[in-house]
Symmetry: C2
Subunit: 393 residues, 2 copies
């Protein structure tokens, strides 16, 4: 046989090019650090509520362990439609909704549905890094739209968005409320983005997974408030993960024109072959009976935000825009531009785990992301530690 291969040289370009998450290095460095308060990952500290887990357990015990609908069980698709009906005060058809392996799989399918290899997807940045990575993995190209930072808030410049559009542009991916910045598009901005998309025949991939975590109202503004769904080119990605503390369940949904149904069914079939039926029973309980839990979580994040921002503002060393939504604080510390190094130092010197802004693409490099969906005592202790560290640093 031939000489021993260097297997790494055998990887496809796409597999070789998929970036490692910039959070992982920091997490690996601090994972076993005694007493560390971890604010680095985008999930809360609460396990899934028992009423949800118990519904899944019942489905499992009842033997719902066979292959199931590639689009999701009909009851769950109807419940997602009803949920949208309640949120947006108008009827939605269950035919628009497709259950996926988390929001990530919904992004993967959305890109696969409408983006040809070589085509571009415009992604405002700072961004959740998985989105541009998924675009590139599918052979597309992520075109970065730099957002503007000011202490009064992040902004998305519509003229600059339009200037990025060229013959290869196929879609705009808009995450609002946004991870990591906490920016949320207001209705006027959503209308402006939609007008640009209509003018150029582009798709919008609307990542609204933090839509229920709004600090400015009952819910964040949504493309559902401004779009004409029978005609507009919009794919919505969403998830059970954040609303109902189900990050580890890997269940989300894609909302798409019903005409895409057979294609979505096939893309699901040939990537994951569906979502466990008994887990969908848990998701059904969550979306039908989970409003109290959302309200509880949202209030908790609101208090955490107050505690953290007042502690840090008192140091006069930090800069941040108060988030409109989601559950992060994205802040810069004066004099510390190397946030990868800073994140490692904060592990050792402050006992707090944060995500370095370098993980979130252009424009985020000098920031740190703190996840606030944690217990008040953890947040208060982390705030104290960061305040102390900043006073000494």
């Amino acid at each position: 046989m031939s000489a021993s291969p260097d297997f790494l040289l055998e990887l496809s370009r796409a597999a070789r090019g998929a970036p490692e998450s910039g959070i992982v290095e920091v997490v690996n460095y601090g994972r076993l650090k005694e007493g560390l308060i971890p604010l680095w990952v985008g999930e809360g500290d609460l396990p899934t509520p028992a009423f949800i887990s118990e519904a899944a357990t019942r489905g499992l015990a009842a033997g719902e362990t066979f292959y199931t609908w590639q689009r999701g069980i009909p009851e769950l698709r109807q419940a997602i439609a009803d949920y949208h009906g309640r949120l947006f005060a108008r009827p939605f058809s269950a035919e628009r909704f497709f259950v996926t392996i988390g929001g990530m799989h919904a992004v993967h399918i959305a890109v696969g549905l409408v983006v040809e290899p070589g085509q571009e997807v415009i992604v405002p940045s700072p961004t959740w890094p998985n989105v541009p990575a998924a675009v590139e993995l599918a052979g597309g190209r992520a075109r970065i739209l730099h957002m503007d930072y000011a202490a009064t808030g992040w902004t998305l410049d519509i003229d600059r968005l339009e200037a990025l559009i060229g013959p290869a542009t196929r879609a705009i991916l808009l995450n609002s409320p946004a991870n990591p910045t906490g920016w949320a598009a207001d209705e006027a901005t959503l209308k402006a983005v939609l007008a640009v998309a209509r003018k150029h025949g582009l798709w919008i991939i609307a990542d609204e997974v933090y839509g229920r975590f709004s600090f400015t109202g009952e819910r964040a503004a949504s493309f559902h408030d401004v779009a004409d769904e029978a005609n507009d080119r919009i794919l919505y990605v969403n998830t059970f993960s954040k609303n109902w503390a189900m990050t580890g369940w890997r269940i989300g949904w894609l909302e798409a024109p019903p005409a895409f149904g057979p294609a979505i069914e096939n893309l699901v079939q040939y990537t994951t072959s569906g979502v466990p039926g008994f887990l969908q029973r848990g998701a059904l309980a969550a979306i039908e009976r989970g409003e109290d839990f959302i309200a509880f979580q949202k209030a908790r994040v609101g208090r955490a935000l107050d505690v953290m921002t007042s502690a840090l503002a008192a140091t006069n060393r930090v800069s941040f825009a108060k988030p409109d939504g989601a559950f992060y604080l994205f802040l810069a510390i004066d004099g510390f531009d190397d946030t990868r190094r800073l994140a490692l130092r904060l592990i050792d010197e402050a006992g707090v785990g944060v995500a370095p802004g370098t993980a979130f693409g252009p424009g985020g490099e000098r920031f740190l992301r703190l996840c606030l969906a944690r217990s008040e005592s953890h947040i208060a202790t982390a705030a104290d530690r960061l305040q102390d560290w900043l006073r000494k640093a």
Copy 2:
């Protein structure tokens, strides 16, 4: 805004090109037919054993509902390695194993790891249709290698395999024991395929999900019996689905050179972001304590095969090769070459649901696939009904 779009024209070529499963039409036609015995889908009729479901339930109740390792929980990776150690009587490193959303996701990742868009993967046919579909969805091309049918058995012609290899060839996907034919490669064939792969620097994607369902021995021959894993280019795909009646759980595994670990982690991250931790507890119970269940299922399929083949052979109207493994009977009925139509007729006239050979690619068109992993009374009734129908038809 512009005129209402025809959304179907907006689909990417890959999404538009993904084929609909040829089984679906038949299932949809017969799904609600009273008293029908369904032998069309590739899964057994037993729910997951309780000791497996209960292990998952314990994980869920214990709050294992957070994001987890993209490669799978360490305990499960070690248990899969130990399982291989028992099967192949030599040690395996846990670093070779990666937990996926079923065998399908393992195929998807395997193709993504080593196949560039435009490159070819050789797929023996008749074939499980999801494999060529996954190759094409990733931008690759499935090159069909026609297998030869004789009543004494299906065969794979190594010279014809080698003749298909050209500059664009990147991999050979070998499913053995095979769905739908029941063919299993013997050790000499595996060695010959491996020699061809070595000579041409090709990858082998070894789909051995039916490896435990062998009618010729304790287990089917495996590339593990003939390969030098430190040097050979082999990616193994496998699943918990068939061995432990866990089709609906969507858990499988990929075995790959450990050097691929970071790339696999990224491909998982950007497609599904991992497998639920609490479900992995069920998989752990299955692989550690599931040998009796495998033996039970295998004996049951063996008896079903005897019942079905003797009933059908007695009609002198059918032709089939006795399967070496898996849990299907793939048979042709004299005078009925249009198997799509035949499958629809059998629903109405015999009360038996079968999969038409047209669903399984070139060379399978005139066959029907019957799944035998069902209760003996169902199999006996189905055999009687088919025998009666054949005597009248």
